[in-house]
Amino acid sequence: MQSRLSDIELIEQTLAGNQAAYADLVRRHQRFVFTLALRFSKNREDAEEIAQDCFIKAYRSLLAFQKQSKFSTWLYTIVYTTSMTFLRKKRVDTDSIDDENTYIQLENHSSGLKSNMAETKSRSYYLQQAITQLLPDDAAIITLFYMGEQSLEEIGQTLGIEANTIKVKLFRARQRLKEKLERNLKDEVKELI
């Protein structure tokens, strides 16, 4: 029955001292929070650490949640802030994600998989691979728009940018994703020939 409760109802129960309600809230949002963290960290272990940190921070600040926006939008703001802090701490040069070396590294990684996964590879595999090659901001916008089902205004609220700027950024992110997808597919065809 608990799963039918809305986010706000679960928050109210949590604030009343029911920790199990918060566990339900975590279960409900963990996949997306983890995916969003993964877009920034590019590493599963780090993404899991960021995601856990976000849920603990959200729990701590639950009283500060004004309920004026969706809980998910508020939570994604925490994910964005925490991920940016993580990137700064790790001194990851975000530009390097797109440079040639990283691309070669990702290609090599995929080449290793090719030998035994050739049959199981689908277009969605290449799409996931292309997303990992995007800049963190581009990948986050695509993820928020398509997976998080967030409106341009909500994404703007999460990233602290105007909705119109998000519209332009989304367009560019889609262009880059399309280019990377086409390049990956072209490389794959070349290797098979």
Partner: protein, 166 residues
Amino acid sequence: MNTIEERLWNYIDGTCTEEERRAIDLLIADDEGYRSKFEELLSLDREFASLEPDEPSMGFTYNVMEGIRAEHAQKPLKAAINKRIIRGIGGFFIVTILLLVILMLSTFHFTSASVSVHLPESLKLPDMKNFPSGLLLKGFFFFDAILALFLIDAYLHKKGVQSRFK
């Protein structure tokens, strides 16, 4: 001026105006090139929308809840102190000091030549000689100083927590 792709994405997302939408409807119906571009972008849009979120490890929720429990357990004694009691003690001392200051000022008689103090006859001040070299007074000020430091610390801590997500 928007490019064709930009206009088509706005059309697919539903973020274009009614006028633009009608114009694009016509272009898709009449222009073969425009139509094929639209179909290409629409198929990409469906592909992007079909992306599935990644799954964290099995013990993810458990780890989060453990983290929260651990944080509660580590809560320092300072944070567990009832703030009302602290404020009450602070208030008591402030009121006491204020009353003493008011009483002292009210007994001053300012004249142009000299300042003389006339205490009310009914007021019997304790003999200051009985105090062991002002030790009680020093203790009182020391306690006040500690209390002030504690309140400043609590205020700065609160400010720090508030600014964490700004």
